[in-house]
Amino acid sequence: MNGWLLAATAVLAVGLGASLWGVSTGPLGRRVTAQNLSTALLCPGLLLLAQGYDRTSYVDLALLLALLGPVGTLVFARLLADELAGDPPRAWGPTWAAAALGTVVVAVLCAVAGPGRAMVKLLIVGALLVGGNLIASRALSGGFAEVDRG
């Protein structure tokens, strides 16, 4: 068991525990926020797993999750808009913390990978992860209200 797998286990333990606890208890707004943050917390874990197993093709899983996770959150933000309108979930603290975790993991892995196509792929995953997370959080807190009414 190398250090990458240990780091992946730690990130996954925090991510799985927090998202599971958040999504199964509490009011609806907190559950949607937890579903959004599960993407942002598990994607760095998948990246670390890919590095730990030394299989670069495993990065595809993180890429797909970074692409589709925010899409799933936007589905909930659109279809639960009426329920969430009264008390829009604003969780910018956890959102920025998750974005910081993703940025740190991607930066470390980029430093290990060195310049090349692998690094560009990691940067694409990181940009999709952080950007999608911020857009989904903004949609949940009612930032795109004019789109919802359309």
């Binding site: 068991m1 797998l5 992946a8 286990t9 996954l12 333990a13 799985l16 525990g17 998202s19 599971l20 999504v23 199964s24 609806l28 559950r31 949607v32 937890a34 579903q35 599960s38 993407t39 598990l42 874990g45 998948l46 797993l49 197993y53 299989r55 093709s57 495993y58 595809d60 899983l61 797909l64 999750l65 589709l68 996770g69 899409v71 799933g72 589905v75 909930f76 279809l79 639960l80 329920e83």
Partner: protein, 87 residues
């Protein structure tokens, strides 16, 4: 020691699936199910089956919640209309 991550994800899958059954509201069940889809993909990755994990991610993280939420919305609208008419 390398099995720790497998045990961890297995426990998470068991807990998430239990939470999906225990919740009674369909919208909340769909939220738990979206997380369960992602956690299952992590489990498949840990068990060295990334191809299965890829298809699980593609279906479980966005498509299944979308179908469930659309169905819930349609059922609620249909069941709300006659009730309002009667009352």
């Amino acid at each position: 020691m390398a099995d720790a991550v497998i045990v961890l994800t297995l426990l998470a899958v068991a807990g998430c699936a239990t939470a999906a059954v225990v919740n009674r509201d369909p919208a909340r069940q769909a939220l738990v199910l979206a997380v369960l889809g992602t956690v299952l993909a992590v489990l498949f990755t840990v068990l060295q089956a990334p191809d299965v994990g890829l298809s699980q991610l593609a279906v479980g993280s966005a498509l299944t919640p979308l179908l469930i939420m659309l169905t819930v919305r349609k059922v609620r609208r249909r069941s709300a209309a006659p009730k309002d008419g009667r009352q």
